[in-house]
Amino acid sequence: MTVGPQFRRVARFVSPADRGFAAVVYGGSILFALLIVGLFVELVLGSWPSIVAFGPSFIWKSSWDPITSKFGALPMIFGTVMTSLIAIVLAAFIGIMAAVFLADFAPRWLGQPLSFLIELLAAVPSVVYGLWGLFVLAPFMRTTIGPALQHVLGWMPLFSGPIYGVGLLTGGIILALMIVPTVTAISRDVLVAIPRDLREASMALGSTKWETAIRVVLPAARVGVFGACVLALGRALGETIAVTMVIGNRPEISASLFAPSYTLASVIANEFTEATTSIYTSALIELGLILFLVSMAVNALARFMIWSVRGSERV
C-alpha cells in the first residue's frame, strides 16, 4: 500500500496526536507482516530435518508410513485441493444466487431475517458441522445421494467404485456448507452497494428484473463477488476438524469422488499429538509448510485474476 499524495502533503503539519495515530496504524501493519514472515521461518526451521531427509520428492511421493518413516505428501495435497475445489464450485453457485435474491428480490420482511440466519451459519463451530456430517450427511450420502449420482453418472470414473458415505465428495459438501455464509454475506453487501442508477437505467432500457440482476448488477459487482469467493476458499483450504470427521482419512489418490481421502490439515490434527520421533514431527510440520504455500499460491492466483478483471475494464 502506498500513501496517497494528499496525505503526504498534510503529513508535515501534523499534531502529536496524528503522529501517534500514524505510529499505531504503521505498527499494526508491520506487526502483521512480521507475523507472516515469522510463521514462515518457524515452519521452515521445524520442517528442516524432513526437507533434508526427503528432499523435493516429499511433494510427489504418496506413501505415509510412520513405522518405517517413509513420508510423502501427494495424497494430502490432492485431497486438500479437491475438497476445496468441490466446496468452492458448490458454494459459489449457491452463495451468489442467494446473494442476488437477498439484494434485489427478497421483500424486506424476508430479506432481513434471512440474511441474519445465513450469517448465523458462519458462527456454528466446525465440530458441530463435523458431527452432523458423520451422523447425518455420511449415511445419507451412502444410501441416497451416492447411489443416485452413480445411477446417472456411474460411467464416469469420478462417480465409480464403492460408496462408503465418508470420502472426498462428503468432505467437499461439508466445506461448501461452511463457506456459503461467507460467499453470501459479502456478495450481498457488494451487490447492495451497486448504485441504483445502474438498475434504473437497465430497467428503462426494457430489461426485466432478472436480466437487470444477472446481466447488469452482477457483472458490475464481479470483483467484489470474486473477492468473497477467494476469502471463502481460504477458509476451505485450512478447515480441519469437520473435514477430518467425514473424509475417511486414507492417504490415497483415487479417481472416484466417493473414495476416502485425506487433507493436509487433517493429518496434522490427527497425528501431531502422538508423533514421537523427530523426523515424524518434522514431516508433519512440512505438511503445514506445504499448506501455507498452497494457500499462498491460491491467494496469489486469485489476486492475479482480480487484477486481470479490473484491468480489462479500466476501473
Binding site: S63, W64, D65, P66, I67, T68, L134, F135, A138, P139, R142, P162, Y164, G165, V166, T244, M245, G248, N249, R250, P251, P260, Y262, S266, A269, N270, E271, F272, T273, E274, A275, T276, T277
Partner: protein
C-alpha cells in the same frame, strides 16, 4: 480519583488475603495420554476430597505431548500409553521411573444388519480382515466359525483410528503377534499405514464407534470402556488357549494377571496364553523422575495411592480395568525407588 484508587488497592488486598491460604496447598501437574483422562480426573478428584491440601492438575494432551512436557520438566509427571523407549529416556534430563497405572482393552465392534447373535472370530481371521485378504462377510473362513449365523454377502469395511492412539498401538501389537505377514508388512505403532483396500480412518474412539454404527458391513476396534458404556455389540475372539472370550474388565484383567513381571521394557500382554485372558489388551503408564526437583513427597503419596487398591477402585467405576493385585505390588515397588 484518589478515592477510587484507594478502594481499588483495598479490594486487591482482600483478594490477595483470600487467595494466600489456598496458595499454601500443593498443586501437582501432569500431562499426557487422553486414554487415562477419565480415570485420572475421577481418581484425583477423590484424592483431593480426602487430602484437601493437594490438588492434581492433569492435562490430556496426548502421550507424545506428555512425554515432551515431562522431558522439559514442565510437569511433575507424564502419562503415556506406551512406555518411553531408550531414545526418549536418553533425552530425559534424569533417570526415569515408569509405572503401570491402568489397563485397557480393545473390543471388536461390527455392524451386520439382521445378525443378532454375537459373531466369533479367530485371531488369524481378524488379522486377514485387517490385511485385506478376507473381503466379504460371507467368506468361508468366517462362515466356518459362525455356522448358526446367516452372514450377508456384504463387503467388509475396515475402520481404524486416524489419530495417533494407544488403542491403535495395542491393536497393531496384537496383529503383529498373531500374523507374521502383518509384522513384516505393517508393524506396530500408534499410527500405521493400513493395508486393507476398504479401510476408513475415523478420529477418536467416538469417531470409530460412530463410523461402525452408521456403516453396514463395518468392523472396528473400540476402547472397552466405550463399548461397555454404550452397550455396543462386540465380537467374541478365540484366544491363544483356544477359548472363546468376550472383551470384559475381567478377561482383560486375567490377561494382565498372567504376567506379573511387567516392566517398561517388557510390557506387552497381547495374545496372552492365560485361559481366561482377552487377547487385545495393554497397560497405560505414568512416568516420573527418580529424583524429582520439587514436591517429591506429595508426588510419591499421590501415585502410591493411585496404584494401590484404593486408587484402583476408581478405575472400576469409570469402566476401566483395575491393575491385578500382583501388578499393584510391582508398581508400588518401582515407585519406592523414588527419592523423597
Amino acid at each position: 480519583m484518589i478515592r477510587s484508587l484507594r478502594r481499588c488497592c483495598f479490594s486487591l488486598a482482600v483478594v490477595a488475603a483470600m487467595t494466600l491460604p489456598a496458595a499454601a496447598a500443593t498443586q501437582l501437574t501432569g500431562a499426557g495420554s487422553s486414554f487415562d483422562y477419565p480415570f485420572f480426573s475421577k481418581a484425583f478428584y477423590i484424592y483431593n476430597q480426602k487430602n484437601p491440601d493437594i490438588t492434581v492438575n492433569y492435562q490430556s494432551i496426548g502421550s507424545g505431548g506428555g512425554i515432551a512436557q515431562f522431558t522439559a520438566r514442565n510437569v511433575d509427571f507424564g502419562a503415556t500409553d506406551v512406555p518411553m523407549n531408550a531414545g526418549e529416556l536418553a533425552r530425559a534430563p534424569g533417570p526415569v521411573l515408569q509405572i503401570p497405572v491402568t489397563l485397557g482393552g480393545a473390543a471388536i465392534a461390527y455392524n451386520l444388519p439382521g445378525v443378532s447373535a454375537p459373531i466369533r472370530l479367530t485371531r488369524a481371521v481378524l488379522a486377514d480382515i485387517y490385511l485385506g485378504t478376507i473381503l466379504k462377510w460371507n467368506d468361508p473362513q468366517i462362515a466356518k466359525l459362525n455356522k448358526s449365523v446367516n452372514l450377508p454377502d456384504m463387503a467388509i469395511i475396515v475402520v481404524h483410528r486416524s489419530d495417533g492412539s494407544g488403542t491403535s498401538y495395542i491393536f497393531t501389537d496384537f496383529l503383529s503377534h498373531v500374523s507374521a505377514e502383518w509384522k513384516s508388512k505393517v508393524g506396530t505403532g500408534k499410527s500405521v499405514s493400513w493395508p486393507a483396500p476398504s479401510s476408513v480412518g475415523a478420529k477418536g474412539t467416538e469417531g470409530v464407534a460412530g463410523q461402525v454404527k452408521s456403516t453396514p458391513g463395518a468392523i472396528g476396534y473400540v476402547e472397552m470402556a466405550y463399548v461397555v458404556e454404550n452397550h455396543m455389540q462386540a465380537a467374541t475372539l478365540e484366544n491363544k488357549a483356544g477359548k472363546w472370550i468376550d472383551c470384559t474388565p475381567e478377561t482383560v484383567a486375567a490377561a494382565a494377571a498372567s504376567k506379573p513381571e511387567v516392566s517398561a521394557t517388557n510390557f506387552s500382554i497381547v495374545d496372552s496364553s492365560a485361559a481366561g485372558g482377552y487377547p487385545i489388551s495393554g497397560y497405560s503408564w505414568v512416568v516420573v523422575y527418580k529424583k524429582p526437583e520439587a514436591r517429591a513427597k506429595e508426588l510419591y503419596n499421590v501415585l502410591s495411592w493411585l496404584v494401590g487398591s484404593q486408587g484402583q477402585e476408581n478405575a472400576k467405576s469409570v469402566d476401566y480395568v483395575p491393575l491385578p493385585r500382583n501388578v499393584q505390588g510391582a508398581a508400588a515397588a518401582t515407585l519406592r525407588q523414588m527419592q523423597r
